[in-house]
């Protein structure tokens, strides 16, 4: 067993470390998404990788996608533009779906590593 796998296994089995890793991965996801939309995929992969099971990984991936969108929506709201943003119809829908779907797909990495 490689060092990385041993480390991952420890995080996955240790509740406190797992939650810490999930939180760190979520922060990284939101930060990476500021630079490129691949950040949602990477963020999903990170939270997935440290999750206990594949099903939890997917839930965490979707969660981090929603969290990312929530941070974005809060930024828009802070700029006084949430109602306008919400009224953009399909564009609004896409902006919700992109982080959730991308992070959800990224979380499937849990089934690989």
């Amino acid at each position: 067993m490689s060092v990385a796998r041993a480390w991952l296994t420890e995080i996955r089995t240790n509740r406190r470390e797992r939650w810490f890793a999930l939180a760190a991965a979520a922060v990284i996801a939101v930060g990476a998404a500021q630079i490129h939309w691949y950040g949602f995929l990477v963020g999903g992969a990170l939270v997935g990788a440290v999750s206990k099971t594949l099903s939890r990984a997917v839930a965490a991936g979707l969660g981090v996608g929603l969290l990312s969108w929530g941070v974005f929506a809060a930024t828009v709201a802070a700029n006084g533009a949430f109602s306008q943003y919400a009224a953009t119809g399909q564009a609004f829908g896409l902006s919700v779906a992109i982080p959730v779907v991308a992070a959800g797909i990224g979380s499937l990495v849990r089934g690989v590593v």
Binding site: F72, N79, G80, Y85, T88, P99, L108, V112
Partner: protein, 791 residues
């Protein structure tokens, strides 16, 4: 291979495939545009304008008031215009870029095949060439330097700030702004006010319906007694020998194509000036509401500019640094379209190869230029632009016609507008008016000393045939040099010596009061001005209200000015509704609409049933009169004569068909009421939903608010064509009185701004807001001198 390995491979393929798909079109396009944080559509939603900006021209401050109007102050003029460029780009960058693309024929580059026709027209007309000529005339002038500083301000914004949502949706970035682009904006405005193919239309109508129909339906003068200048003789003399359409240039396909690119029908305006003798304050009053195409965002941009020697506020067209309509510390001014004829058309004898044209007895090569129209997602097009001594040649469907338009030569209009901004009274205002080469407008002005002025601006061509002045009402023989304009140099600098001298253009100094509503300027002008005057309904009503008040004991004030702008009384209805009621009285099945019309007060109010019945009836009445004959001739609705002509046709006119006018009125009313819902009122249809964004995205359009007014009322709104009061302004020149104004929408074109449509409800309800005084308080954007400043 075991199940676990297979599952891993499958999941790895899903993740890897998703990652790879994200880098491929069209998925990547959606992600690049709509992903949170980085999506180009959301830049303006998350990124407020920077509060500190470096300026190479020196310090300036910007404060926004509660309606998003920027109040820009600076020590130096160029620092001011750099800041103006910055704030205009912040609020209207997409609109500016769109108009620039339209005028240069580069719309298809980002929109695709749908706009190739538009691009071809604009490339053939070479508006860009006219703008370049303008710029040459400005070189080395203070106005030219102001325009350069403005362009740099726009570019500083493009470099530093996020782009509006439209750029994200269309997935492109704007090119840097140049002073030539500002000149293009002026060309665009001038074209939208004076670009008309009316002469070609008359030729087509003469060909299809005969010259008698042209004389009957399109008279050179409408028989009314409310011209702008009312001290004329009232006689029938018309300046310039009539030249009738010969029907020799008649091509419906060419005209159908061209009609998309001329100024919208119904473009017009109201303005009036009242001397202090008739006002409560003893100072003059100025009011103006230009009726232009209404859109989201509005065509006008409000701003308030101040330096040590400049204090001006009002509106401009985005892309133009100077206040076009407004007031300064000395006076106030406004414009309406004068209807002057500043465009002519020519045919030529050409050689078999189409490379040369005959001109005054010799063969000349067409000046040609190959231009490429780039098309997004489609093949590019190549257009050969051809020009003659008169100007560009428009070609389509195997027909060609030469065009001479005053906007194709260098004009000093920018210097005139800057002069208006800086004028310290009537003398300087008059001097600036002398410089205004284009567009041809009615300008009204009043200063704080109590002086007032009306003048027709712009260069007006004189045409002569055999030494005699003629009107520009038919296509001329370009090969013979017939009726051409002396002193006109297309795409160069004109000397203008053959044009109507400034002193001989219609004008009035210190009128008691004077009203303009695009009606005939004068009964007996010295020179032919034009024939494209509006039907006189608004002009009649304006003078009726002013005359009545002037004759009363009650002096005029700003509130009275606002009431005039909101006036919904229809002189068109007054003209015909009595005859209509008489014609339909007692007819079976029409009792209800007859009762409605009989009790109606002729006001086009939103809650009026009568206004709805009447407006629908008149549409049908027009069809009753003209639809069959025009359709047989292959002529659409746009060729119908104006409603004044219809309303004054004799009762037994052939156009009404069997039974004459009375029977046509009855048939029209039956057809109109068949389409009306029970209980519906005018405001159910007359709404701001007509005011849309040029982009096909519903969220960018304005909300629907019911409103008042019609094409024929002073409160001007025509839902069917989205034309109406594009800016309402009332300026009491008295020192302590506050000017008021309103835009049909909002001052910001940034969809995410709270000022995108915050004036729309007020506008729809006929209300006003204060006009542009600096609110004080915290600076919103501060421009700091950059290193190397002092340019």
């Amino acid at each position: 291979m075991d199940t676990n390995t297979t599952r891993r491979a499958l999941l790895a393929a899903v993740v890897g495939g998703a990652a790879a798909a994200g880098s491929l079109a069209p998925v990547r396009g959606y992600l690049d545009r709509f992903a949170p944080f980085t999506g180009r559509a959301w830049g303006d939603a998350t990124d407020p304008t920077d509060r500190r900006v470096e300026s190479p021209y020196g310090a300036a401050d910007v404060r926004y008031d509660e309606y998003g109007t920027p109040h820009v102050s600076a020590d130096r003029e160029r620092a001011l215009y750099f800041a103006v460029g910055y704030v205009q780009a912040a609020d209207r960058l997409f609109q500016m870029d769109l108009q620039r693309r339209v005028m240069t024929g580069r719309l298809s580059e980002v929109v695709g095949e749908a706009t190739v026709d538009s691009d071809e027209f604009h490339v053939r007309m070479d508006f860009a060439g006219g703008a370049e000529a303008n710029l040459e005339l400005l070189e080395g002038t203070e106005t030219g330097r102001a325009v350069e500083a403005y362009a740099e301000g726009v570019n500083a914004h493009i470099e530093r700030e996020s782009l509006p949502v439209e750029f994200g949706l269309l997935d492109y970035e704007p090119d840097p702004w140049s002073p030539a682009d500002t000149m293009l904006m002026e060309s665009q405005i001038a074209w939208s006010l004076t670009g008309s193919f009316r002469t070609l239309e008359r030729e087509l109508i003469a060909s299809e319906l005969g010259p008698e129909a042209v004389a009957e339906l399109y008279p050179a003068r409408l028989d009314h007694d409310a011209p702008i200048i009312r001290d004329g003789t009232g006689g029938d003399r018309l300046a310039g020998r009539p030249v009738e359409p010969r029907g020799e240039f008649a091509d419906a396909d060419l005209l159908r194509w061209l009609s998309s690119f001329e100024s919208p029908r119904g473009v017009g305006s109201n303005s009036w000036v009242v001397s202090g003798e008739f006002t409560a304050s003893g100072r003059p009053l100025v009011a103006n509401d230009p009726h232009l195409a209404l859109s989201a965002p509005p065509v006008w941009y409000e701003m308030d500019l101040r330096t040590d020697d400049l204090d001006v506020r009002g509106v401009t067209f985005p892309g133009v640094p100077f206040v076009v309509i407004g007031e300064n510390d000395a006076g106030a001014w406004g414009f309406t379209n004068s209807g002057a004829d500043v465009i002519d058309f020519y045919t030529y004898e050409t050689d078999d190869a189409g490379e040369r044209y005959r001109y005054r007895g010799e063969w000349r090569e067409f000046e040609t230029d190959e231009q490429t129209i780039r098309v997004a997602d489609g093949p590019d097009r190549t257009v050969t632009v051809r020009k003659t001594v008169h100007g560009p040649v428009i070609e389509r469907e195997g027909r060609e016609v030469g065009v001479a338009w005053t906007g194709h030569t260098a004009t000093a209009t920018s210097r005139a507008i800057r002069g208006y901004n800086r004028s310290d009274g009537i003398e300087e205002f008059l001097a600036a008016t002398r410089r205004m080469d284009l567009p041809t407008q009615n300008v009204v002005y009043a200063d704080r000393e109590g002086n007032s002025l009306y003048y027709v601006t712009g260069r007006i061509p004189r045409r002569t045939i055999d030494g005699e002045q003629v009107r520009g009402t038919r296509v001329f023989d370009g090969s013979a040099g017939e009726a051409e304009w002396e002193g006109f140099e297309p795409f160069g600098v004109s000397s203008w010596e053959g044009f109507v001298p400034f002193e001989e253009k219609p004008h009035v100094v210190d009128p008691d009061y004077l009203g303009t509503a695009n009606q005939r300027i004068a009964d007996d002008p010295d020179h032919y001005i034009g024939e494209a005057y509006s039907s006189p309904y608004r002009g009649q009503r304006l003078y009726e209200l002013l005359d009545r008040r002037a004759a009363s004991d009650e002096p005029m004030d700003a509130e009275f000015m606002r009431r005039i702008q909101r006036d919904t009384y229809s002189k068109r209805a007054e003209q015909v509704v009595g005859d209509l009621v008489a014609a339909v009285e007692g007819r079976e099945g029409l009792e209800a609409p007859v009762g409605t019309l009989r009790d109606w007060d002729c006001r086009m109010d939103r809650d009026s049933r009568g206004a709805l019945v009447f407006s629908r009836w008149f549409d049908r009445f027009r069809e009753e009169a003209f639809a069959d004959a025009f359709e047989r001739a292959g002529l659409g609705e746009r060729y119908y004569p104006n409603d004044w002509v219809l309303a004054t046709l004799p009762a037994d006119s052939r156009w009404f068909g069997e039974g004459g006018r009375e029977a046509a009125m009855v048939r029209a009313l039956r057809a109109a009421v068949a389409d009306l819902d029970d209980g519906a009122t005018y405001g159910d249809h007359n709404t701001t939903a007509a005011i849309t964004h040029p982009f096909d995205q519903s969220f960018l359009n304005y909300p629907a608010y019911a409103t008042d007014g019609s094409a024929y009322t002073l409160n001007n709104f025509r839902a069917e064509s989205a034309v109406g009061s594009s800016w309402r302004m009332v300026c009491p020149i008295a020192r302590d009185a506050e000017s008021v104004c309103i835009l049909p929408g909002g001052n910001s074109g940034d969809y995410f701004s709270e000022h995108y449509d915050d004036q729309l409800r007020l506008w729809a309800d006929g209300e006003y807001k204060p006009m542009g005084r600096d609110p004080g308080g915290e600076v919103d954007v501060r421009f700091d001198p950059s290193e190397g400043e002092n340019r």
